[in-house]
């Protein structure tokens, strides 16, 4: 039944779709980033948009800031997500089922939803601030700390955690349910402590799923526009806002420069994802040993 013709038939919709949209878009921006943009009468190929970008202090500073921010939020989300999944892994208590039902909720709602709630709750004139004033912990809304549109991106991080911890839980629970309990039992029979079993048996088995969720979260934090736009701080701009602003300015002579920035980001993200996968396989305790 498995003929080569059938395989080609099965793969063709995906390949055609990717070729027509994804790769043509990449190719077009690659060509443009070399300075080939006939519409504006630019036809000379050069690498100077890349060298310019890599010497651009503002871009590099924003790039670095965004990277640290995305890494920090993704690590936090994966840490809490994994810990919570393990805590509620066994079906021996009445909370496991409602816990996983609850975890699906944030995955289904858009980011703007939680942003709106945070604005009502945590802004200086928000509900938490009102509550603290009422019970006399702070005197007026001025003394409530700036948590949204702040320098440390706290509002954005909270938003991402609200969305991503449940995402990690939802992606891990599928693996946890199918995970073979025998390995854990064997390990405990052989005298391993609970921690040893966790570190050397359960966690490595779960590693591919965690890494997967981590990469998706990191890339999202690194490149998504809407939340930094709503809750970001203008003096501590993040990359997506920076690029979007350049793009919508409508200055067509700037396009090759923007495309070169896009490609630098894309290549960087792919390389970073590759590095994370490589690390997860080669660090001690990370390899699954062919299971």
């Amino acid at each position: 039944m498995l003929t080569k013709r059938k395989l080609i038939l099965l793969l063709s919709p995906f390949c055609l779709f990717m070729l027509f949209f994804f790769f043509s878009a990449l190719a077009k921006s690659l060509v443009t980033s070399f300075g080939y943009y006939p519409l504006m009468g630019m036809e000379k190929l050069s690498l100077h948009y890349y060298t310019d970008a890599l010497n651009n202090k503002v871009f590099l500073r924003i790039f670095f800031r965004t990277f640290i921010f995305a890494l920090f939020s993704a690590v936090l989300a994966c840490f809490f997500g994994t810990a919570l999944s393990f805590l509620f892994k066994k079906n021996d208590n009445p909370f496991t089922k409602p816990f996983f039902k609850l975890a699906q909720l944030p995955v289904m709602l858009p980011h703007i939803f939680i942003v709106l709630a945070l604005l009502q709750l945590l802004s200086q004139t928000g509900l938490v601030s009102s509550l603290l004033t009422k019970i006399g912990i702070i005197h007026s809304y001025n003394s409530f700390p700036l948590l949204l549109n702040d320098q440390w991106q706290i509002g954005i991080i909270l938003t991402y955690l609200w969305k991503e911890i449940p995402f990690v839980i939802v992606s891990l629970i599928l693996v946890l349910r199918q995970m073979d309990n025998r390995y854990r039992i064997v390990s405990e029979n052989l005298g391993a402590t609970k921690w040893q079993t966790f570190w050397k048996v359960s966690l490595p088995l779960l590693m591919p799923a965690i890494v997967n969720a981590f990469i998706i979260n990191f890339s999202f934090n690194f490149g998504a526009y809407e939340v930094p736009y709503l809750l970001g701080n203008q003096t501590k701009e993040l990359l997506p806002v920076y690029i979007y602003d350049l793009y919508v300015q409508g200055d067509y002579t700037q396009l090759p420069m923007i495309m070169s920035l896009n490609l630098i980001l894309s290549v960087f993200s792919i390389a970073f994802a590759g590095l994370v996968i490589w690390l997860s396989k080669h660090l001690p305790g990370g390899h699954t040993g062919g299971i």
Binding site: L10, F222, L265
Partner: protein, 264 residues
């Protein structure tokens, strides 16, 4: 043991509060007339306001329609592309399979701002910006990784054993697909459809940028209201969003789980 159960209870309660609090705040915002600093509770709650608004406002109805139209289009296009791909990945061994696996995830790995500006650029060239097909294609690009993964995870469980049997017993390819493959992998298909629906409904920048403002979906319209401080209007759109995502998904879930499982 008792203390462990207690810890779980506390963690569960904190988690539940953190997840549900924003939902509650949005709900209260949508039905309250004035709720601003420093009052802890809305001064005036009007339960009927939301529904009157939903049934009279042309704006909210049109964005509800845009959202659903795009979501349904995206689900159809995504499943049509993802199903054969997942089948190929689950049943066959071929050269370049690893590469294809990486390729599937690329749209999620490349920063969306970079991908979207590139896509906008090429859509303008194709003349597809602002069109239904253009927006649906970009949504599909972001949905494919999830859909293929969910379908693949399900298809790999039985591989093609039952399909081969069905074909040997004389069923046609189409009969085999609709009477064996799809029913056996119902949960994978359910997951893929739900995830695609959610991802399409929640898109903001893709819809706005590629759609040229022609598709003002629920999540797109929430933005200007939020930035201009009209939280109540934003909340009204948010509640509508919840109504059209949570209720249908819950119904699908109930329907699928109760409609007798033959295998598994």
């Amino acid at each position: 043991m008792a203390s462990k159960k207690f810890t779980k209870l506390i963690v569960y309660l904190i988690f539940a509060i953190l997840v549900l609090m924003p939902l509650f705040v949005i709900f209260m915002l949508a039905i309250s007339k004035t709720w601003s600093y420093p009052s802890l509770w809305p001064k005036w709650v009007d339960w009927g306001y939301y529904f009157r608004f939903l049934f009279t406002s042309k704006e909210i109805q049109s964005s509800l329609f845009s959202s659903l139209e795009l979501a349904v289009g995206t689900v159809v296009l995504t499943i049509v592309i993802a199903y054969p791909t997942a089948m190929a990945l689950a049943y066959y061994d071929f050269r370049g399979k690893k590469l294809l696996n990486v390729l599937v995830y690329l749209p999620l790995i490349i920063p969306s701002i970079a991908l979207l500006t590139n896509m906008d650029f090429i859509m303008i060239k194709y003349g597809l910006n602002g069109t239904f097909f253009g927006v649906v294609s970009v949504h599909t690009l972001f949905c494919l990784p999830y859909a293929i993964k969910l379908l693949y995870d399900n298809l790999i469980l039985w591989k093609d054993k039952y399909e081969v049997a069905s074909r040997n017993l004389g069923a046609s390819t189409l009969q085999t697909f609709f009477k064996v493959t799809v029913p056996m992998n119902k949960s994978g298909l359910q997951g893929a459809v739900m995830m695609t629906y959610i991802v399409s409904m929640t898109q903001y920048l893709a819809t706005l940028l590629i759609g040229d403002g022609n598709y003002l979906t629920l999540s797109v319209r929430m933005f200007p209201f939020t930035t201009s401080g009209k939280y109540r209007m934003a909340a009204v759109y948010g509640i509508t969003f919840m109504l059209v995502t949570l209720i249908p998904l819950y119904l699908i879930d109930v329907w699928v789980t109760h409609k007798g499982r033959k295998i598994a």
